[in-house]
Subunit: 461 residues, 4 copies
């Protein structure tokens, strides 16, 4: 027991179970051991602890980690308040009374903050790697589909022709921003809070700089009270997971749409689909549906912690224990979604010719025709109006852009001539795009080359 | 496997684990068995199943329930998609091929909705009982504190004297509304959806009325598509838990404040407090802090499901699997909070004389003095202004309502006479309250009596 | 100024503007006047006010209402804290010092709660009427489309044939639950809080029962402290708006999908569509998109107030001022969405033959075929497997349910005979549905008749 | 009208009003003019527009800005869909048909994204300045209170002595992180999206690099589809506002607590307090209460946009119009809260001697005493236990740390000697702190000096 000599009654068992964080802070086991070791070494370094005592403690902590890894020892949930108490209790069992020196000048308040920071640091690095791998799959799929013409949608209405490559590269951009956001989180989390004590440091000459360096942090806290009260880094992490998961939900929505009978654009592999217990013909895009659905949870986790922090007076309050579950859950949900959606993408079967036939003659080239009129010197707004009339006429005459005649066009406006008809051919439309950032296949190929060298570099370094 | 004959490849193992709901829908085990039994009996009743087959299936299902209860069989998470698949698979093992008839005219879509409705129905009833017990503790504590005068706060500033009884009875009112809200949820959830099939009922003559009656529901669905798409009842449940938990958070906040050195009004029992690993003198109100903190989670669960449902096309989508975790988690969090906070309340040590001394002479009686002026015929707004001047004068003269003299009052306004001084005595102030719903001790006693007969009646019926 | 005689300095102008609620609580103008009048009449009734004074005040209040209605007087935002102060100030201007008697035994704390309750009561009644009108449009459209066969979707994959009538009636069910939820809100909100004062009623013999009755409330508060602290009714209102708006978002999502080139099922009228500033051919389903998007706002409003209430100590705190904007905004967003989506629905152009041709031969009848096998005595799970093999065979042979031959079926399983082929005809499929709540057209017609008599009755009463 | 020649019916007036964004995107007026001008100059630069036409358009746009600034022209809400349409319509009125050339190669989709990015960029810079000013006030107040000893709280229980300076400097740290977070937002938002068109750039040789440079952006979009679909920068902005507002809510909570009669630590100035309409003696901390309350709104705005973006297919959908209101509202709420809370802080009256007397003898020095025992060679956990016994003994003997005798201490444990008694003197306690980041006054002074040079530098550069 870490406390209690001033108490007359023990904590009620129901209360212990209601309040114990061990069922989830067991996730911080490894980090807690690391922090304990760094702290012990610091105590020896500044002379509070003898080197001999320090060695005993470190050895004991190493044994606990081994026992835990090998499944020989696992703390009982109903016995301990948290992972810190469990480890200290075990240390007593292994090395006796010298274990009582471990906690010198240290509080659970600064330790748990440091543990969580270490854990998020590690997790962010894993996430960035997973994002990178996801981008690589998207880029490879994009490269295979530079000429897969599809309608670009606004308002889910066909707007202008694009390629599947262009569409997928939009997601590569989003994922790149996600990495930048996690880089920012990394910067925020990379601060050691060990040495802040409960709230105000210590009268002992403990050295936060030493432990920060030992634990591999970039810097350490400046104000002990802030150090134990602050969970901004966790909220930033939850925001980054939320935006990341939203991106996956947008892609999932599109995979679901593209898999419908109506779109008939892709087929998701059997390995990533499920059937129906009642309807024998069904094949369902469960993975994208679940990823879309799990966005609710990741967003809920953000609200959870934000609500906890709102109006919380300084410094540590027990409410802060509620930071861990949302962080662990959003991490797991998001990284699993990334990893499995990457697999789904890499196995989809794309119906490359699905749209090209249907788009021949489609009004989707109206903007290009408008641009052509502009090049003939017609003010844009007038050109827009003229093409609107062409569409209206064609619809009422049951015609489209393949079978409308030059004569018909001239009747609407005499400015039309032969060249206009060329502008109505879908197959060449992407090559006509001139502006940067457009789906011009040459430009996309060059972007893909850039991405490849960047992402490859990332992996080898 | 419930499906798959049309598939060429099996579901990938990672995909199975990502998508399996078994780790949490195992909570619905009992309900799933009940639903299966009712369905089987219905199939026999309408003649789709022979009575013999039905008996075998029901017997098999009973065995599975027993095995499960006795811990002899537990479905492996990594093997099944969900609790339904696990039970059907086990049924095959126990009774052979006749198990294949169980699923006739039934889909997981209608079954899971019915399971969840049964589960929420049961849970709501437990919650209402816990609320009731909480109210009883509050009422008993209130009855002991009819004369415990304390400041009533607005803006956390002392406003007017009230009693602790009055303050606690405000919470009894809130809890009563919580019961009404859960009653509404009960009404919404008490609808059987069994027989809706995947989406559109069946060409077989299945009978939803029979199963609804067997399962003890009040009524059954009218539209099969709505039946499998609808999770309104779950969102209503999460709303009720959120508002309920908010009430507990408000009370927790007050317990935390009242336990501070500054307030020094109550002491929370040692059994429900913890100490500090670093600071030996500390005793912390952990339980109220955790309840306050867990409000974030309960609110997050509401957002979770609301976000899942937003813009979801009909009918069943796999996203709906995400309904269960928030429902189970909010239930557990809320009912545990209710039960433990009730215990905390019943063991607090109240410093009954804490405020009465301090309030003698306090300006907290200003409103009463204003009312007295009104009774002398002064328009209220003027009376308010006069008392404001009295306060201003007293503050600058370093006086208060016990030592201000009649002469001083008369200098501010000649209307003051002897009787005014009586109005400044705190001890009698509550008895002067005349309006209904006020902290007049006689009125409160009568309310307490009413509550007692109501709540007692609830328990015996 | 309603207060201030004890203050040495006036409220800073920036602070006044930051804190003023007048820009939004002006919405409560009418309710505030009503409350003031009822309070005045009560004061006269219990003898605190002379009848003469009361008459003057009521007359003054009536004038203020007229001035306001006719646009002759409008309180300046930068001058008053809130609508109550503005009205009292105007009353002084109109009737002189007797105005100072209005506020006797009344606080802004109880008044604003009563105002808001009156406002929500009125608004809920308007909402219920709008829902009713929406249902009528859906039912009429359903009746026109009893035979409009379309695929019923699960996982957005074609699952079983249904009719558009059946699909729309699912929404009628949702809307009916919305009315039940608003009925519950109505019950919760229908409680007068006038007479609670700031926190603890009054030493004056004011009569909350009288004012409650005058204002048309069903009952009045029991505990004054609860009365001024409680905003549960507002949160319940926001929950009801959220669930209601989610329903509209689901329908909007479907209208958007059905309007795509891919679905080509409906056309939204020109009156409710917009074009593109750049692309002349575009016609966009803006209204459903906006309704879908505005769901975020309505959900955000719920979170807003829930966060405000979390851990708020009793009784009134200024934070509660933040209750009004979310309530007003969710009301406006939701009722406008209801009213305009109703218009959109009533003007859509439905492509009734869109699906029937495509579904002839489609595997969407697999479940019916499975049911047929069950009727031949095959256990369901085996039947499911057999039909799965039929689908697999047909897909690989490039066949469908119209051109697969009986011989081919028999090769897969000898149980097939002539009758099976009949089960593969889509046109008769709905009529084969036997179970209650299914899309059997006769059952739907009968439901429609019931709805009509119910909803019509609602309107005339 | 920017579109419509293909339409047979005009947009219904109710639909126009429901869908118009003009009531709020009028905020983007200035940005819209700037974007139009930059676009026009680019069109001339690449030769699509003659210089003469370009000059006319730019002149016209300048006039519109002047008219607007001077209040001579204001677009009617009920007439236009948005600010873009209003400006183009006015341009026609001012310069005639050449106005029709403005929109060449530009869509509202890319324009509104660019407008909003410019607006957020400007707003973030204002916020950073306001944060800086807030920090300066905190630092000045801290410097005045280096010796104002107060209890540091954990769990709102007195934990260890700190100074008010130390407490306020914790907030300076939080605010510094807020600036880092807004710096990250600035980086994300500083990307021009002009030239992306509706979705896919243009067949005209427009130059996004030129307009990006003209508008002062750091870089421009890489993928046109992403450019019009992306609102990550807005969500990052809302996250930064949320965390920032949470910090203000924590400080507000403390100001409210410190202003209570129970704490009696500070008095908020009359200029920033309000009174009660009923209770003449009241003075309320309204500003901190409102700031605490408005946190709900800022959090609600985050949820709002996150819900809008969830599962939204690419590219532009009308739902995205809902991005603006939360962004504008969170900006206004947050920056106003910053500016006014700064004023409140700078005028509070601090009761500097409030705690020092009360803390003499308080058990709050228990940790220091424990540290002293550690220095005597006692293992920490044992030392903790010994001091716990001291506290328990003292409490039962009705003693405290000033009047407990050395003999009594020795009876509990013989290790105690004279020096221990010195450790129990509160006045010197802060100076005994040795570790970095602690409230040692010398260390704090040095931090203050650093802050001053950093923040001052920020202002002059």
């Amino acid at each position: 027991m870490l406390w209690g000599s001033r108490f007359k009654e023990k904590l009620n068992q129901t209360a212990l179970e209601f309040s114990s964080s061990l069922p989830f802070d067991i996730n911080l086991f490894e980090e807690d051991i690391l922090v304990n070791k760094a702290h012990t070494e610091m105590l020896a370094d500044v002379g509070i602890l003898s080197q001999e005592d320090a060695d005993k403690i470190v050895k004991g902590l190493n044994s606990i980690q081994s026992e835990f890894d090998e499944g020989k020892w696992k703390p009982e949930t109903e016995k301990y308040e948290d992972v810190h108490s469990a480890i200290e209790a075990r240390l007593y069992e292994l090395i006796g009374d010298v274990a009582g020196k471990l906690h010198t000048g240290k509080s659970r308040n600064d330790q748990v903050a440091t543990d969580l920071r270490l854990w998020i640091k590690k997790s962010v690095q894993q996430i960035i790697l997973s994002i990178n791998n996801f981008q690589i799959v998207l880029i490879n799929t994009a490269e295979d589909n530079l000429d897969t013409i599809m309608p670009g949608y606004t308002h889910l209405q066909r707007a202008q022709p694009v390629s599947l490559a262009f569409h997928l590269l939009a997601y590569v951009e989003m994922l790149e921003r996600d990495k930048e956001r996690f880089d920012f989180v990394l910067e925020q989390v990379d601060v050691s809070t060990l040495g802040a004590g409960s709230i105000a440091g210590s009268t002992l000459p403990i050295d936060p700089e030493f432990t920060s360096w030992k634990l591999g942090f970039k810097k350490y806290f400046s104000n002990a009270m802030d150090a134990v009260s602050d969970r901004d880094f966790a909220l930033d992490f939850l925001n980054a997971c939320t935006i990341g998961q939203i991106h996956l939900s947008r892609l999932s929505e599109e995979l679901i749409l593209w898999s419908t009978s109506e779109w008939n654009f892709i087929k998701i592999g059997d390995k990533y689909s499920t059937g129906s217990s009642l309807m024998p013909q069904k094949k369902n895009p469960d993975i994208p549906e679940l990823i879309r659905g799990k966005t609710g949870k990741v967003l809920g986790n953000y609200i959870n912690l934000a609500s906890v922090l709102k109006a919380l007076p300084l410094s540590y309050n027990r409410d802060l224990q509620e930071d861990k579950e949302p962080v662990f859950d959003s991490f797991k949900t998001y990284i699993n979604s990334l990893d499995i959606l990457k697999e789904v993408i890499s196995t989809i079967d794309i119906n490359k010719e699905r749209f090209i036939k249907e788009l021949r003659g489609d009004f989707i080239l109206s903007t290009d025709l408008t641009d052509w009129l502009v090049l003939q010197g017609i003010p844009f707004r007038d050109a827009h109006g003229i093409v609107g009339l062409v569409v209206k006429y064609a619809e009422s005459a049951g015609k489209n852009f393949t079978n409308i005649t030059l004569d018909e066009l001239k009747k609407i406006n005499p400015v039309f001539h032969e060249e206009a008809i060329e502008y109505l051919m879908i197959d060449e439309s992407l090559k006509r795009k001139k502006s940067k950032g457009s789906p011009n296949p040459e430009m996309l190929q060059s972007q893909i080359n850039n991405w490849k060298s960047m992402l490859f570099e990332f992996i080898v370094t």
